[in-house]
C-alpha cells in the first residue's frame, strides 16, 4: 500500500501546484476540486472516513462551486507586475516546509485522548466516537463553529452579495435535478441517522442536502423570491438558536452547560443534529446563491 500512498501524495502535491500556478482561472479551480477529492481519498487511507465525507462534500464540492462562481465574476487573471521575489520566497517556503515536516514527523503524541474517549464513550449516548467528540465531549467547539457559519451569513447579507440568477440550462437538466434532489434528501436523512453509530452526521448531511437544493436552484426549479431568501435566512439562523437553547436548557436540568441529562443523551444529540442539518443546508445554499438581485452586469 505504500506505493499507493506515495502516488496519492504525489498527485495531491501536483494538484496543489497546478491549482496555484495555472493562469486560466477555471483550470485552477478544477485542479483545486481534484485536490479536494484526492485529499478525501487520503483521509480514507488515514482511517478518518467522517472527515473524508465532509471534505468531499464541503471542501471539494461547495468550496469548488464558490470558487467557480467567483472565477466567473472576477474575470481573467491580470498579469502580475514584474516581481522578482519568487525565488527567495520559494527557498524560504521550502525551508519552512522541510522544517515543519521534520518537526511533525519527529513528534509522536502520547496517547491521552484515545483512552479518555474510549472510557467515556458509553456515557456519551452515541457509539461513533467522532460524533461523541463533536456533539458531547467538545460540543462547545461545535456550537461556536455554527456561530462562525451564522456570522459568515450575516457578512454576506451585509455585503448584499449578488444573487445567482440561473440561466436557462434547457430541459435536459430537469431529469437530473428531479432525481438528484430527492436522493439527496434521502441520503441526508441516512447520513444524519447513521452519524450516531457510523461515519456521518450533521455536517455531511447538511452539505449533501445543500447540494440537492443547489441542483434545484440551478435547474430553475426552486422558487427564488425575496420571501424565500428571507425564510432561508431564518432557517440558517435557527440551527444556532436551537443549539444555544439546548445548551441553556441542559444547564437548567443538569447544572452544566451542554451537559445532557443522563440516559437521554442520544435524544438530545439527534435533535440538535437534525436542526443543524437543516440550518447548515440553508446556510451553505444561501452563501452560494447570494442575497440581492443587483443590476450590475
Amino acid at each position: 500500500m505504500i506505493a499507493f500512498d506515495l502516488a496519492l501524495a504525489a498527485g495531491i502535491l501536483l494538484c496543489a501546484v497546478s491549482a496555484l500556478t495555472r493562469r486560466d482561472r477555471t483550470a485552477s479551480v478544477a485542479a483545486f476540486m481534484v485536490l479536494g477529492l484526492l485529499v478525501a481519498l487520503s483521509w480514507v487511507r488515514l482511517a478518518a472516513p467522517d472527515v473524508a465525507l465532509a471534505e468531499a462534500a464541503i471542501g471539494a464540492g461547495l468550496t469548488g462551486a464558490l470558487f467557480l462562481r467567483a472565477a466567473r465574476r472576477l474575470g481573467p487573471l491580470r498579469p502580475a507586475a514584474g516581481r522578482t521575489l519568487a525565488v527567495p520566497a520559494a527557498l524560504v517556503a521550502s525551508g519552512l516546509g522541510g522544517g515543519l515536516a521534520w518537526v511533525f514527523a519527529s513528534a509522536s503524541p502520547p496517547a491521552i485522548y484515545a483512552p479518555l474517549v474510549a472510557a467515556s464513550l458509553p456515557e456519551s449516548g452515541v457509539s461513533n466516537p467522532v460524533t461523541a467528540v463533536l456533539l458531547n465531549f467538545r460540543a462547545w467547539d461545535t456550537l461556536l463553529e455554527i456561530a462562525v457559519l451564522v456570522v459568515a451569513l450575516l457578512v454576506a447579507n451585509l455585503l448584499g452579495s449578488r444573487r445567482l440568477v440561473p440561466v436557462s440550462l434547457g430541459e435536459m437538466t430537469l431529469p437530473f435535478a428531479r432525481i438528484v434532489a430527492p436522493i439527496s434528501i434521502l441520503l441526508a436523512g441516512h447520513l444524519l441517522w447513521q452519524g450516531s453509530s457510523a461515519p456521518g452526521g450533521a455536517f455531511q448531511a447538511g452539505a449533501v442536502l445543500a447540494g440537492g437544493l443547489l441542483a434545484l436552484v440551478l435547474a430553475g426549479l426552486a422558487p427564488t423570491g425575496t420571501l424565500v431568501v428571507r425564510g432561508a435566512l431564518i432557517a440558517g439562523l435557527s440551527g444556532l438558536a436551537v443549539f444555544l437553547i439546548a445548551a441553556l436548557g441542559s444547564e437548567a436540568l443538569t447544572g452544566s452547560l451542554l451537559g445532557y441529562p443522563n440516559r437521554a443523551e442520544k435524544v438530545w444529540i439527534v435533535a440538535i443534529e437534525a436542526a443543524l442539518t437543516l440550518s447548515i443546508a440553508a446556510t451553505l445554499c444561501l452563501l452560494f446563491t447570494g442575497f440581492e438581485k443587483r443590476k450590475t452586469s
Binding site: F104, P109, I112, L116, A147, V151, L154
Partner: protein, 477 residues
C-alpha cells in the same frame, strides 16, 4: 444559571434575534449590551471576593472536554469589553439617522457587534487552545463585517486585507495547535508548560505566537491594520481598535503567564517586536495628515507598548509587570474607544478629519474635543489616569530588575506619544483669540456622551486602580 454561561450565550442569542428581526435590532442590542455589562460586573465582584473559578463544560473535564477559567484577569477583560460596548452602543443607538442608507447600516451593526461580544466573552473564558482558534474565527469574521459596514471602496479593500491577514493568522495559530497536539497529545491551556520543555513544543508555541502577532497587528506584521481601523465607521473603529485587537494580546499574556520562565526566547522576541511597533507607530502617527489615521497608528504604538510589557513579564505570578500589561490593556481600551468616538463626532461637525484643518475660527471646541484630550492624557500616561498607573507599575517592575535600556525605551515611547497626541490636542482645544466672536457651538449628541463617559472611566480607573489590581490577584495559578 451561571453567569459565565449567560455571558457567552446571551450575546449570541441576541445577535440571532437582531438578525432575524431587523426592526427590533436596536432595542435588542441595547438590552443585551446592558445585560452583559450587569453579568460581567456580578461575575467580577464574585471572583474578587471568592477567588478564581473553573468549570468543565458538559461535565467533561479537560483535556478531553473544554474548560472555562473565570479568573481575575478574565473578569477584568470581561468588564473592559462590557464598558467599551456600552459606550459604543450609546453612540450607535443615539446617532441621528439622516437617510435610509444609515438605517440599513445601523440594523446590520447590531448582530455583528453582538456576535463580537459573544466571541470576546467566550475567548476570555476559554481554557482550550483549539476552542480559542474557533472563537478567533468568529471574532475575525464579525470584525470584518464591522469594517465593511460603511460600504465604501476603501473600507471594502481594508476589510478584504483584514480578513485575509486574519485568516492567515488563524491558520498559523491552528498549525501551532496541531503541532501542540502532535507533541503533547492534548490542547488544553495547562499543556503550555509541557510544550515549553521540548523543541517541537517550542516551535508550536512560536507558531501560535506568530499567529497572535498577525491578529494583534504587532510590528512587523501590522501591515493590514491602520487601513482597516481608519477606513471603518467610527463606532466600528472604536470596537476594532479598543477590543478586537486585545483578544490576541490577552491570549499572548495568558500563554506567557502559563508558560512561566520556559518561554524566555519567545518573550524576548515579543518585547523587541513591541519596541519596534512603539517606535514605528509613533513615527507614522507623527507624520499622519488625517486624524483617524493618527489614532490608528497610535494603536500600533500602544499595542507595541503592551506587547513589550508582556514580553518583559518574568512569568512569575507575583511579578508586577504582567499586572501592568493588564492595566495598560484596560486603559488603552477605554481611552482608544473614547478617542475614536470623539474623532467620529469631530469629523461629523467639521465635515473632514484633516489635522491641519482643526484650527478653525467658526466652531468652538465641544465635548468631543474635551473627551479626546482626556483620552490623550490617559494614553500618554499622565496622572491620575489608568494609563499612568499601568506605566508606573511597568517602570517600577523594570527598575526593580535594573533593566535600564527598557526603561529608556518606555520613556522614549511616552515622549513620542505625547508629541503626536499634542499635535491634535494643541489645535482643537485652542480657545481665545483663535475663535471668532460669533462662533457656534457644536450640537450635543449621544456620541459626545459616550466619548466623555469612556474617557472619564479611563480617568476614574486611575483614581480607583486598587479595584482592578485586587481583581488581578485572583488569577488562576
Amino acid at each position: 444559571m451561571n453567569e459565565t454561561s449567560l455571558l457567552v450565550s446571551l450575546p449570541l442569542i441576541a445577535a440571532l434575534v437582531a438578525a432575524a428581526w431587523p426592526r427590533a435590532a436596536t432595542i435588542t442590542g441595547v438590552i443585551a449590551t446592558l445585560g452583559n455589562a450587569g453579568l460581567a460586573v456580578v461575575l467580577a465582584i464574585r471572583i474578587g471576593q471568592g477567588g478564581a473559578e473553573a468549570e468543565a463544560l458538559g461535565g467533561w473535564a479537560a483535556p478531553l472536554g473544554i474548560g472555562f477559567a473565570a479568573d481575575g484577569l478574565a473578569a477584568l477583560m470581561l468588564v473592559m469589553t462590557a464598558l467599551v460596548g456600552l459606550g459604543v452602543s450609546v453612540q450607535v443607538a443615539g446617532a441621528p439617522l439622516p437617510d435610509a442608507g444609515r438605517t440599513g447600516q445601523r440594523t446590520a451593526f447590531w448582530p455583528l457587534w453582538l456576535a463580537t461580544l459573544g466571541a470576546m466573552n467566550a475567548l476570555f473564558l476559554s481554557a482550550d487552545l483549539f476552542n480559542l482558534y474557533v472563537t478567533f474565527e468568529i471574532l475575525g469574521l464579525a470584525a470584518v463585517g464591522l469594517t465593511a459596514l460603511s460600504g465604501t471602496r476603501t473600507a471594502l479593500r481594508a476589510a478584504f486585507d483584514y480578513l485575509s491577514a486574519g485568516l492567515a493568522g488563524s491558520l498559523l495559530l491552528l498549525l501551532g495547535v496541531a503541532l501542540a497536539y502532535a507533541t503533547a497529545g492534548r490542547v488544553d491551556l495547562a499543556v503550555v508548560p509541557e510544550l515549553a520543555g521540548s523543541h517541537e513544543g517550542r516551535v508550536a508555541l512560536g507558531l501560535i505566537f506568530a499567529g497572535l502577532a498577525v491578529k494583534a497587528a504587532l510590528f512587523p506584521l501590522h501591515f493590514w491594520m491602520p487601513a482597516a481601523h481608519s477606513s471603518a465607521a467610527p463606532e466600528a473603529s472604536a470596537l476594532l481598535s479598543a477590543l478586537v485587537v486585545k483578544a490576541a494580546i490577552y491570549v499572548a499574556l495568558r500563554l506567557s503567564i502559563e508558560g512561566g520562565a520556559a518561554v524566555e526566547l519567545l518573550r524576548l522576541v515579543l518585547a523587541v517586536a513591541g519596541a519596534g511597533a512603539m517606535l514605528w507607530g509613533a513615527w507614522h502617527a507623527l507624520r499622519a495628515d488625517r486624524l483617524k489615521l493618527l489614532v490608528a497608528h497610535s494603536t500600533v504604538a500602544q499595542v507595541g507598548l503592551i506587547a513589550l510589557a508582556i514580553g518583559l513579564t518574568t512569568g512569575a505570578r507575583d511579578g508586577t509587570i504582567w499586572r501592568a500589561a493588564a492595566l495598560l490593556m484596560l486603559s488603552h481600551a477605554l481611552a482608544k474607544a473614547a478617542m475614536f468616538l470623539a474623532v467620529g463626532r469631530i469629523t461629523e461637525e467639521l465635515g473632514h478629519d484633516r489635522i491641519s484643518g482643526l484650527n478653525r475660527e467658526e466652531l468652538r471646541p465641544g465635548a468631543a474635543e474635551f473627551a479626546f484630550a482626556i483620552a490623550a492624557i490617559s494614553l500618554i500616561g499622565l496622572p491620575p489616569t489608568a494609563g499612568f498607573v499601568g506605566k508606573w507599575l511597568l517602570l517600577d517592575g523594570l527598575i526593580d530588575r535594573g533593566a535600564w535600556p527598557w526603561v529608556a525605551l518606555v520613556l522614549l515611547g511616552t515622549v513620542l506619544s505625547a508629541a503626536y497626541l499634542a499635535r491634535v490636542v494643541s489645535r482643537c482645544l485652542r480657545g481665545g483669540p483663535h475663535v471668532a466672536p460669533g462662533a457656534r457651538r457644536p450640537a450635543w449628541r449621544a456620541g459626545d456622551a459616550a466619548a466623555l463617559g469612556l474617557a472619564t472611566a479611563a480617568l476614574a480607573l486611575g483614581l480607583a486602580s486598587a479595584l482592578p489590581l485586587t481583581l488581578l490577584d485572583a488569577t488562576l495559578t
